[in-house]
């Protein structure tokens, strides 16, 4: 192609690397481009637009029956959202569900993973599949199934309790949150178990073997060797679970069909969607940003906290 003849080897070594690197950079850019464009367009731009929207406000005057005007509102949407007892209530509700449900689910997942990993467990493949199956089911289907299992008038659980002389309404205001926690635990324990189980599989067998030789019981092996070794997996599943709980939507949305007392601002996402329905996009944007910041702070904060502790250990 080029008019110049192939350069002699010594010259080549001095000239070719920059050209080579430049081409490499171009190639890399070409490969990154599709991602970068989609990431900017589908991820960064909507976030930016949401933040932008949250700083404005639709202003009416008088009876407000003519077209409104949009005015800059500063942070007033944020103060309004945080001052709204319904929105604060939804945040608190989800926080409480998370505080109780996430540890219960992860302890269960860890216990199941340890049992699957134990030497003496029978039918390992069967149980691994059985525990994982709820996650393989689409979340909405699982939620529909549970909503029938807890619906007043249909619920076999309520009927059984009735036979025992107990009055049990799983969709009453007091039991709604535990019912949702139960649905979440049922759906997600298997998934978390599998992550922890694969971490357990990566532990070199000679460690457990050495401990066993020294007369360590299976329980103590689990406590002193296996659990410390799968700590990264536990941290990871906790972070996923925190984010997942912050985004709670499917289960309560489906449950609402059989539990009309489940309010339409039950979770923060419900509350934001409620604002959209009321044509208040600016308030919905502010509530979304608050939720995102809180979820980020909680999950990232937990991660940092665990990392710092990891360094001192």
């Amino acid at each position: 192609m080029t008019t110049a003849p192939p350069a002699p080897p010594p010259a080549a070594t001095t000239r070719r690397p920059p050209q080579h690197l430049r081409r490499q950079a171009r190639t890399a850019a070409a490969f990154i481009m599709p991602f970068a464009v989609l990431f900017a367009g589908m991820y960064l731009a909507p976030i930016g637009y949401t933040v932008y929207q949250s700083l404005f406000k639709v202003h009416h005057s008088g009876l407000g029956l003519s077209a409104p005007t949009t005015v800059f509102a500063g942070l007033s949407n944020y103060t309004a959202a945080l001052g709204d007892p319904a929105f604060r209530g939804s945040l608190l509700r989800v926080l409480l569900i998370g505080i109780v449900q996430v540890p219960v689910m992860l302890l269960l997942a860890l216990a199941l993973a340890l049992l699957l990993d134990a030497r003496t467990t029978l039918f390992k493949r069967f149980f691994r599949l059985a525990f994982f199956l709820p996650y393989a089911l689409p979340g909405v289907i699982g939620a529909i199934m549970w909503s029938y299992l807890v619906a007043p008038g249909l619920s076999p659980i309520t009927a059984a309790a009735h036979h025992l002389g107990l009055h049990l309404d799983l969709t009453s205001n007091t039991l709604l949150a535990p019912t949702i926690g139960n649905m979440l635990t049922w759906g997600w324990t298997g998934y978390n178990m599998l992550i922890i189980y694969s971490a357990l599989q990566a532990i070199p067998p000679e460690l457990s073997e050495a401990a066993r030789m020294d007369g360590c019981s299976p329980l103590r092996i689990a406590w002193h060797i296996k659990i410390p070794m799968v700590r990264p997996a536990l941290v990871l599943t906790t972070v996923f679970s925190v984010i997942g709980t912050a985004q709670l939507y499917n289960e309560p949305a489906i449950l609402h069909n059989v539990a009309p007392n489940l309010s339409s601002d039950y979770t923060p996402i419900f509350a934001a969607y409620d604002q959209i329905n009321a044509d208040n996009f600016n308030a919905a944007a502010a509530e979304s940003v608050i939720l995102a910041v809180l979820a980020f702070a909680l999950s990232f904060g937990f991660l940092k906290f665990m990392q710092r502790r990891g360094e001192t250990l």
Binding site: H60, A67, P68, P260, S264, N277, A278
Partner: protein
């Protein structure tokens, strides 16, 4: 040379047409120029009522120069209105939309409606006066009324007889007595259901002349928990507290399953619910009948209204004249009305529609009864001054939530009205509207 000139002209024309399409919002163009350049005017129409599509097809057959395409959306409160408002914001809304009277003020407040007073005012005389008032806000007309929604008692004739109810309850006192009678005879059977549909409940308030909203000067008045409303709430809470009503959510499969197996004997609902009920409990066809809604005072009967909608013209429509022409046709043409009466179960807002033959057809599901006669007799006794507020999405959501908690025994209806009142006033204030009597 000549060929090139033609091509250039074509390019210019197309570019101009595109420019008009893009910048056409709010222009006073009637779309006639568009017709000449690009064939028939095309209008989009969003709605959810069954039967609208057939009326649109009838129009398209007879009006080749204005073609309407109907898109079925989710019903308004289930996301349809959100979709419309979002489309208006995005600037790609359809020209026409099905919007309930209760939501029109909210649409006006969102600036989502197009003023069509100049095209519509000539048609005013064709409609019942109060329905015209529902589509005219602050002196501007935003659409054409389609129907009104008088309420009645839809009941199981065979089972009423079985439980010894010889005549359907005339007053609410009779209703309460019958509810007790039925439930006593069989604790698994209920006279009616207390659902969680805010607008059905609004019909009960409407009947009792218990207004929710009003305007005085340049201020809104919210009266959801005034004495008249508390009286209605007290009656229903009384039945609820005694356990005399079933508590299935409105329009839920559980409701229809209970109706089909004879555990719920009646429903107080609007005229448009008659075909919905018929298709939901097909197996009991012929066993049902329609009676006037129970009243508070038999000497001076007043009935309720639950719904009624308009074909509204949305902001940004560049063919508003044609859109109005279609909307008027859909609400007044006899072939269209026959279809809407039969399929949608509407009670026409157009006065000429009241003589439509479809209104005197016997309905086999209701034992061959001419059910529209009941609604026709109620019409002169429906309060025509009812006014909706500008925050109905929020108000109806909060009331629906509240009714849900009442159903499950977690709150009383009387306290729910108080909290919906507070939330509505707060929402109005937050939007910058002036409200009195907070």
């Amino acid at each position: 040379m000549r060929v090139r000139w033609v091509r250039t002209a074509a390019v210019v024309a197309v570019t101009a047409a595109m420019a008009t399409a893009v910048t056409g919002c709010g222009s006073s163009s009637t779309g006639k120029t568009g017709t000449a350049a690009s064939g028939p005017v095309k209008l989009d129409f969003w709605g959810w009522a069954p039967g609208y599509a057939q009326s649109v097809a009838l129009w398209n057959k007879s009006h080749p120069d204005i073609q309407v395409s109907f898109d079925t959306t989710a019903s308004g409160s289930k996301g349809g209105y959100t979709k419309m408002l979002t489309a208006v914001k995005a600037g790609n809304a359809p020209c026409l939309a099905q919007v309930g009277y209760e939501t029109l003020p909210s649409f006006a407040a969102a600036g989502a409606l197009q003023d069509v007073t100049q095209y519509a005012s000539a048609d005013k005389g064709q409609f019942a006066g109060w329905t015209w008032n529902q589509v005219t806000i602050d002196g501007h007309t935003y659409g054409i009324p389609v129907d009104t929604a008088p309420m009645a008692l839809l009941y199981r004739k065979d089972l009423f007889a079985k439980y010894g109810i010889t005549t359907p309850p005339v007053t609410w006192a009779d209703y309460a007595a019958d509810a007790a009678k039925v439930h006593k005879a069989d604790p698994k059977v209920y006279l009616g259901d207390f659902g969680n549909d805010a607008y059905n409940y609004a019909g009960l308030a409407w009947q009792a002349n218990a207004p929710w909203f009003g305007t005085g000067g340049d201020q809104w008045q919210v009266s959801l928990d005034n004495a008249a409303n508390q009286k209605v709430a007290g009656f229903w809470q009384g039945l609820e507290s005694q356990g005399l009503l079933k508590n299935d959510p409105s329009y839920d499969p559980s409701l229809y399953s209970d109706m089909a197996k004879g555990a719920i004997l009646s429903d107080v609902n609007a005229v448009w619910d008659t075909p919905i009920l018929a298709s939901s409990v097909k197996a009991t066809s012929g066993d049902w009948a329609v009676a006037p809604m129970p009243v508070w005072n038999a000497a001076d009967p007043q009935y309720g209204n639950d719904g009624g909608s308009a074909t509204a013209v949305l902001k940004g429509c560049k063919d508003a004249a044609q859109a109005t022409e279609f909307a008027t046709w859909m609400s007044t043409d006899q072939t269209s009305l026959s279809n809407l009466i039969k399929v949608t179960g509407i009670y026409p807002a157009a006065t000429s529609g009241l003589d439509n033959a479809a209104l005197s057809a016997p309905d086999p599901f209701y034992g061959g009864q001419t059910i529209f006669d009941v609604f026709k007799a109620e019409m002169p006794h429906i309060n025509t001054s009812w006014q909706w507020g500008p925050t109905m999405t929020q108000t109806s959501t909060d009331l629906g939530d509240g009714l849900g908690t009442v159903e499950t025994g977690n709150a009383t209806l009387t306290s729910v009205l108080g909290s919906v009142q507070t939330k509505t006033v707060a929402e109005m204030k937050q939007q910058g509207l002036s409200v009195s009597g907070g």
